[in-house]
């Protein structure tokens, strides 16, 4: 069961939201609904399943409805239609008191402009969620300090937010979100207001923290590179609708429509796509006991210079290269195993193409993609690598 399950989530702003929903159900677009009824369809029929421990990125340009989506997850904005379930518990029917309790226990939030309380110290800010829960002051302060330490601000407990830089203020915002130990962390464009170097630091910090904390994070951004860098999965929103949900490589590799394709056109593909997207299964492999003549004939036929030789378990033993095979035949070698070389490079399925490009230059055989125990999963020929790096649609499949 996903930790967050969203079905048909819809928000219409205006005087007659129901009318907007009806028009949406009749299949009208946002612009048409606005023209016909004056209602703004901010979010339209969004379905999401977000698993425990996942860093789920919702990406879209301004006006795509992403901020509205995240605010409906904790009902800061009341949905017009649809359901949000947290751990199987539907939140839209909760009373105010029950909703507050869910917000206290299960959700916390980090904001675009930090939204710190300027009249409270850094420590009091970090402890705010605990204060609301009624945690006694001593424990509250202790837990706030612990949260501040995880973001590297353990020594600034008694400072005021106004004395800090933007990056440090957002660290406080993050500590406030972490201090309550809520399962789900909602992050509304948390790094957009920061300058690029600080943003990079904060992204690194988040990735590092997430390794230990294993929270479920819903992360809003308009920055595709940020989405690719952080997201386990990415949801692309356009005009309030979900256009595509998938991992970063999936989205780049197979954009759902022209909008997403245009969007991802500028992404540095070599740093997002991995061997998995560029590899194919090996056309043929040989065993160490095969005869050199058979291998050489096959290589001649295929006009290849070398081929992988695997043991019975499918692990790479070495490479049979045509020049060595020919020399071996002259010397009367009987099995391939006697002429093997280790003239090959191997990579994991999640190795970035930028790293594969370096390996590809030096060897006669395609790069081997192996699993943790050395089994051959597939190979990445140079042509495939180049095709994957070029952003022509469908090039990878060619």
């Amino acid at each position: 069961m996903p930790q967050l399950r969203v079905r048909g989530l819809t928000k219409v702003f205006g005087s007659h939201p129901r009318r907007g929903v009806e028009l949406m159900q009749e299949g009208y677009s946002r612009a048409e609904i606005l023209e016909r009824s004056g209602q703004l369809l901010a979010v339209a029929d969004v379905d999401l399943d977000i698993e425990q421990g996942e860093l789920f990125v919702v990406m879209g340009l301004s006006g795509s409805g992403k901020s509205t989506v995240i605010r409906m997850l904790n009902r800061l904005i009341e949905p017009t239609a649809g359901t949000v379930e947290i751990d199987g518990e539907s939140i839209e029917k909760l009373s105010h008191a029950e909703l507050r309790s869910v917000r206290q226990r299960k959700l916390s939030m980090v904001f675009q402009h930090f939204a710190l309380f300027p009249h409270r110290t850094v420590g009091e800010n970090a402890a705010y969620g605990l204060k609301v829960q009624g945690v006694p002051e001593d424990e509250r302060r202790e837990r706030a300090i612990r949260a501040l330490e995880t973001v590297g601000l353990g020594d600034r407990v008694d400072a005021y937010p106004s004395e800090m830089s933007g990056g440090m203020q957002q660290r406080v915002g993050l500590a406030r979100g972490l201090a309550t130990e809520a399962d789900i962390l909602l992050m509304d464009e948390p790094f957009s207001a920061l300058d690029p170097l600080i943003r990079r630091d904060m992204q690194d910090l988040l990735v590092e923290l997430q390794e230990d904390l294993d929270r479920t994070i819903v992360f809003i951004t308009h920055d595709l590179n940020e989405a690719m860098r952080l997201g386990d999965r990415i949801c692309v929103l356009k005009d309030g609708r979900v256009v595509q949900v998938g991992t970063g490589p999936e989205i780049i590799d197979d954009p759902a429509d022209q909008y997403v394709a245009d969007f991802v056109a500028d992404v540095d593909r070599s740093r997002v796509l991995t061997a998995e997207q560029a590899m194919r299964s090996a056309l043929r492999t040989f065993k160490p006991s095969d005869s050199p003549r058979e291998v050489l004939d096959w290589l001649d036929e295929q006009e290849f210079n070398g081929v992988y030789v695997l043991d019975d378990d499918g692990r790479i033993v070495g490479v049979a290269r045509d020049d060595r095979l020919a020399a071996g035949l002259r010397d009367g070698v009987r099995t391939v195993s006697d002429v093997l070389v280790d003239d090959y490079a191997s990579a994991q399925h999640d190795t970035f193409l930028s790293d594969l490009a370096v390996l590809a230059a030096h060897h006669t055989v395609p790069i081997a993609v192996v699993d943790d125990t050395g089994h051959l999963l597939g190979v990445v020929p140079r042509a495939h690598l180049l095709a994957a790096l070029s952003n022509e649609e469908g090039a990878v499949d060619a």
Partner: protein, 326 residues
């Protein structure tokens, strides 16, 4: 005979004045007990306040005013001014009158704040109430103050109470308006943050909105004080004691000397009250500065490096604003 009164040109005359008169008559007969109650209650409060202010000798009161000025401003300018000002009032022989006026101002202000701030809070949360109350506040502020005084004298008879009541009505609008404005100006993301962590509406109000609206609310209180001072002086016409009565007496007897003395007393009192309350409104800023100065060097240099973001020079009470622009 005539159902509709016609003016000379045949245009119908709507007898608003007569209607108002009979409305007031009806009020005084029907709610006489209420007005008597208010008169007695407010009268007692004013008496107590006045005795408290006039009981100590003028010199002791002057020392107290100087101390208050120092607490408010943490500098010597205003205390020096207030020492000279109150001693001047004393030497003109107008000190008791000044204290009587001050008592009326204090009571009117406290009542206006007690009523006005909750109305402002309510207006900030309810669009409908905000829209409904706006024309009423406009009416209260623009109706000539003499008319209030007239009405108050009819309802409460002459003396202190009509002075306080007309000052209360005349001075309350800024308390409502600036409370509403201050709360509405609080960064909506900061309010959302409190709500997102599950704070109750009351906790959001007292823990976030009111503290951050503080500067605006105190600016409203400052306005209330100044307006009620001006009204309390006019209330001299309705028999209210104090500097107003002095000025009225001077006007009716064409006594220029007495008029100047009374007027000067009002001016000195007004400047003192304005500066002290304005200083209390800025107090948060001073505090924050001191704290910033007492933190270690590193934090100071950080704050300096990121001046555009941390907005060191911004008013602390507008911290949310500076965060927003960062």
């Amino acid at each position: 005979m005539h159902n509709v009164l016609l003016a000379q040109d045949g245009f119908p005359v709507i007898p608003i004045g007569e209607a108002a008169e009979s409305a007031v008559d009806w009020l005084t007969t029907t709610f006489g007990w209420l007005f008597r109650g208010i008169r007695d209650g407010v009268g007692v409060i004013v008496d107590v306040t006045e005795s408290a202010l006039t009981a100590p000798s003028p010199l002791i009161m002057t020392v107290l005013f100087v101390i208050l000025a120092y607490i408010a401003t943490r500098s010597w300018g205003l205390p020096l001014f207030s020492a000279l000002g109150f001693l001047l009032i004393h030497s003109m022989g107008r000190f008791p009158e000044a204290m009587e006026t001050l008592a009326l101002v204090l009571v009117a202000t406290i009542l206006a704040v007690i009523i006005g701030i909750p109305l402002g809070i309510f207006a900030s949360r309810s669009e409908r109430f905000s829209v409904a109350i706006k024309p009423i506040l406009d009416f209260m502020q623009t109706m000539p103050s003499f008319v209030y005084l007239l009405l108050a004298v009819v309802l409460f008879r002459i003396g202190r109470v009509p002075g306080v009541m007309s000052a209360l009505i005349f001075s309350m609008p800024p308390a409502v308006r600036l409370t509403e404005l201050g709360i509405r100006q609080v960064d909506s993301e900061v309010v959302e943050a409190a709500e997102a962590f599950g704070a109750r509406p009351r906790e959001v109000l007292t823990g976030v909105q009111l503290p951050l609206a503080r500067a605006s609310i105190l600016a409203g209180v400052n306005q209330v004080i100044m307006l009620s001072l001006s009204m309390v002086v006019i209330a001299g016409l309705g028999g209210a004691p104090g500097l107003g009565a002095t000025v009225v007496r001077a006007v009716t007897s064409m006594n220029i000397g007495m008029g100047i003395e009374g007027g000067l007393g009002v001016v000195l009192l007004a400047i003192y009250l304005d500066r002290v309350t304005a200083a209390f409104g800025r107090e948060g800023r001073g505090k924050r500065r001191e704290q910033a100065a007492s933190t270690d060097e590193k934090s100071l240099s950080d704050a300096g490096d990121e001046d555009d973001q941390s907005g060191e020079g911004e008013e602390a009470d507008q911290g949310s604003e500076s965060v927003k622009t960062a």
